[in-house]
């Protein structure tokens, strides 16, 4: 006979204000099997936990039901509590009467009734709970960082410093990411390359770091501590080990008209190229879309001039499979496409540029050598108009992005300030909706742009940009001045919203990591677990999780590294014992479960069974690898013969809950 204890938590007023906890405890006391029932202010507190443990001992409880917050919050806490009192931790059930009851109901009577029903369901289930023992699985002491921008580099450096080997997979020919394209960094105005390139060199020289550039993750298998990842290293048609990065090939290649993505198409590169002087690895790459040799077999100039003999036109993509204990996502961001914003004439005039393009136009290593010149005629611009919030803070996906891109206020202030500093003959206008500059020394920075550099900050928005007679006619509102402005500008700079990199979505699918509607990776808890994905063993670093500036990105990158190190120092992990288990006698060998399993935990084997009249039957049956199974339950639903069951969540237990609710 079961002896069940029920513990109803008030959660201060969180539950008790909407649910009559005393009535719940008294009503549930009458349920079959319940020998003890009480309520308490904070069940998760030290005193609350001791109350539970005492009751277990005193009433020799065989099962515990706690009516409290979501199991996501405190299931682990209470499992430890009951375990310390000598009860198997899986003989505990939680009825969620906070998130699924008190928080969503207003009427106390209804909420109380519902709390009783939820408690009843948990009691019905715990009657059928069996003690489970968690196994152990080993941890591969190597980490994978996906994305080699400042986020990925910082995470990798920190993990490597702690003594663990780490691989960086970068899809471009060089690591460095967006920060390599930035000219100066706010609020200190130090040069981005000067602070980034030493880190890139550190990463390449660190013995624990392996940079796999020009590569993409193709397949991810396994689970926390035991991932197996297949990486496609794209053919760069240059032997990385032989190439010295001398750059002679990039000067001699006759194909000169390839848009240079590093300068956002503002100038051209050759078909064989090194993205920029400080690239890591500093190795040439052949662009197969433009190389005459690869396309038609006629050329071969680069191979002729290469003294190291590094050119290899026959190079193939390479598949690398490695084992990892932890994976860090650091896929970063991209500015949005501006084709929806015709009113700003971005596609009509080369003098309307995005802020990132403006960075290149101001950069000493950029297409103009750092002299600000109009892209259309190469002349010095006198009037510049900056437009903020282009595509940010919009209503719904049709208009743009619903979120604030966070970094634009500060980089626009930086652009405006630098322009005025370098070219005092310019008039600089910034149109803003709100100026958002929270952060250390951030608002002071913006005020400096206004007060010391004379940037005209205008509360309002640009409505229309019309290219006319070599000028950009800007029509805008000045809301505080109560007028409509018309400015003849030489350049218009658009602070385009940022969005997650396009590779993030397919990667999330491979990792079974969750994303929000904007394709930003979701953190396990928005406040308390900000650098972990809800999927165990997957960590988040930088702008893939939400818009972030460089200081925040680096802070999060180090935080993610700390979490990875915390995982990799462990020799083994406790497995979740709630795994799937097939009933071999009922299994008909149909493979339905194998097909739906997202973790590859199910295989089929031929097994002999005793048939009638001393015969032996060979039957094909499912087998689950409990170390790989994550207990998602997809197979139990897919199985047509009901042979698959989830330990701790058996079909019988779920139905008992349903019966209790419907009673």
């Amino acid at each position: 006979m079961q002896r069940i204890g029920v513990f109803v938590c008030w959660c201060g007023s969180n539950i008790a204000a909407t649910v009559d906890v005393e009535t719940v405890a008294q009503t549930l006391a009458k349920e079959p099997g319940v020998v003890f029932s009480t309520d308490y202010q904070y069940m998760c507190s030290q005193a609350g936990q001791e109350l539970i443990q005492e009751a277990i001992r005193e009433h020799r409880l065989t099962g515990v039901v706690i009516c409290s917050c979501s199991p996501r919050m405190h299931e682990a806490t209470f499992r430890k509590t009951v375990e310390k009192a000598g009860l198997n931790p899986y003989l505990l059930e939680i009825a969620n009467i906070r998130e699924q009851c008190s928080w969503i109901h207003k009427d106390k009577l209804t909420a109380t009734q519902k709390a009783v029903i939820l408690g009843r369901a948990a009691i019905a289930k715990v009657q059928l709970n069996a003690p489970l023992t968690a196994g152990k699985s080993p941890v591969t002491k190597r980490a994978l960082v996906i994305g080699g921008g400042i986020a990925g580099i910082q995470t990798a450096l920190d993990i490597a410093e702690a003594g663990f080997p780490v691989d960086i997979v970068e899809k471009k020919p060089t690591i460095g990411g967006k920060m390599t394209q930035i000219d100066k960094t706010f609020p200190t105005l130090d040069c981005a390359a000067c602070i980034l390139t030493p880190k890139m060199v550190d990463a390449s020289q660190n013995e624990n770091i392996d940079i796999i550039s020009y590569a993409q993750v193709e397949k991810v298998q396994g689970f926390v501590g035991n991932f197996s990842v297949t990486i496609r290293k794209k053919a760069r048609y240059v032997d990385e080990h032989k190439c010295t990065g001398c750059g002679l090939c990039t000067e001699k290649c006759p194909q000169k008209k390839v848009p240079n993505e590093f300068n956002l198409g503002l100038d051209n590169r050759r078909a064989i190229y090194i993205p920029f002087a400080q690239a890591v690895p500093k190795v040439a790459t052949i662009d197969p879309n433009y190389c005459a040799m690869l396309k038609s077999g006629k050329c071969g100039v680069c191979a002729k001039v290469c003294t190291a003999g590094a050119i290899d036109y026959k190079q193939q993509d390479q598949l690398i499979t490695r084992e990892y204990g932890a994976i860090v996502v650091a896929t970063g961001f991209e500015p949005i496409q501006l084709d929806k914003f015709d009113e700003f004439a971005y596609s009509q005039s080369p003098d309307v540029v995005t802020s990132l393009e403006f960075e290149r136009l101001m950069n000493a290593a950029g297409p103009t050598g750092g002299t600000l010149l109009r892209p259309s005629d190469g002349k010095h611009p006198h009037t510049l108009v900056f437009v903020q919030c282009v595509g940010s803070r919009c209503d719904g996906a049709e208009k743009g992005k619903s979120y604030c891109s966070k970094i634009c206020c500060m980089y626009t202030a930086k652009h405006a300030m630098l322009t005025r500093e370098k070219y005092p003959d310019t008039e600089v206008y910034v149109f803003y909706i709100d100026v958002r500059t929270p952060g250390k020394n951030f608002d002071e920075f913006y005020r400096r742009a206004v007060e010391e550099y004379g940037v005209h900050y205008i509360k309002g928005m640009v409505g229309k940009v019309t290219p006319q007679d070599g000028k950009l006619k800007v029509q805008a509102s000045d809301l505080l001045g109560g007028r409509q402005l018309r400015i003849d500008a030489d350049m218009v700079i658009l602070a385009a919203a940022i969005e997650p990199d396009k590779t993030a979505r397919p990667l999330a699918t491979m990792l079974t990591a969750s994303m929000d509607t904007n394709d930003f990776f979701t953190e396990a808890h928005p406040k308390l677990r900000p650098v972990e994905s809800p999927t165990a063993g997957i960590f988040l670093s930088g702008a893939c999780q939400g818009p972030k500036d460089i200081p925040e990105t680096v802070a999060q990158a180090s935080a993610a590294a700390a979490k990875v190190i915390g995982l990799l120092v462990k020799d083994s992990l406790t497995c979740n014992p709630c795994t799937a288990k097939p009933d071999e006698l009922m299994c008909n060998g149909c493979s339905s479960c194998e097909k739906v399993c997202p973790y590859g935990a199910i295989t089929y084997v031929d097994k002999s069974f005793r048939g009638p009249n001393r015969t032996t039957l060979i039957r094909r049956v499912a087998q689950v690898n409990p170390a790989v199974c994550q207990g998602c339950g997809a197979c139990t639903v897919a199985c047509p013969s009901g042979a698959m069951d989830l330990l701790g969540f058996s079909n019988q237990q779920i139905l008992a809950e349903v019966d209790a609710i419907c009673r």
Binding site: E343, C389, R393, C394, D395, G396, K399, G400, I433, K459, G460, M461, V462, G463, K464, Q475, A476, S477, L479, Q484
Partner: protein, 128 residues
Amino acid sequence: MTDWTNRVQEISGVNPRKCMKCGKCTATCPAYDQMEYHPHQFVDMVCTGRVEELMASKGIYTCLGCFACVERCPRSVEPANLIEAVRLAVIRQQGGNHMKPDQIPGLLNEELPQQAITSALRKYSKGG
């Protein structure tokens, strides 16, 4: 909130509280110079319950209805639809009839079908 404020929101289907006060409607408006109240102002006036003031203004008839503000509003507030609703509210207000029965004899004309006058009365008088 006055009745008219609710009525204008109901007629237009516009929620003026979605406005983030960026001023792009006013920036984009080609009739700005002719207007007494500018697009962002009339969104604000509906929001703060000042619809009667709008209804009394001749300025609402200077809106061209070009829908540039509707097209470019990042928050889908649709200022032009709001102003059209204010115009409709003016037409529909009780007592503010544009035509009264005692005007009819003066309008009678052999070439004008009586049906037209009846229709006009129905359309332009909305009760006492």
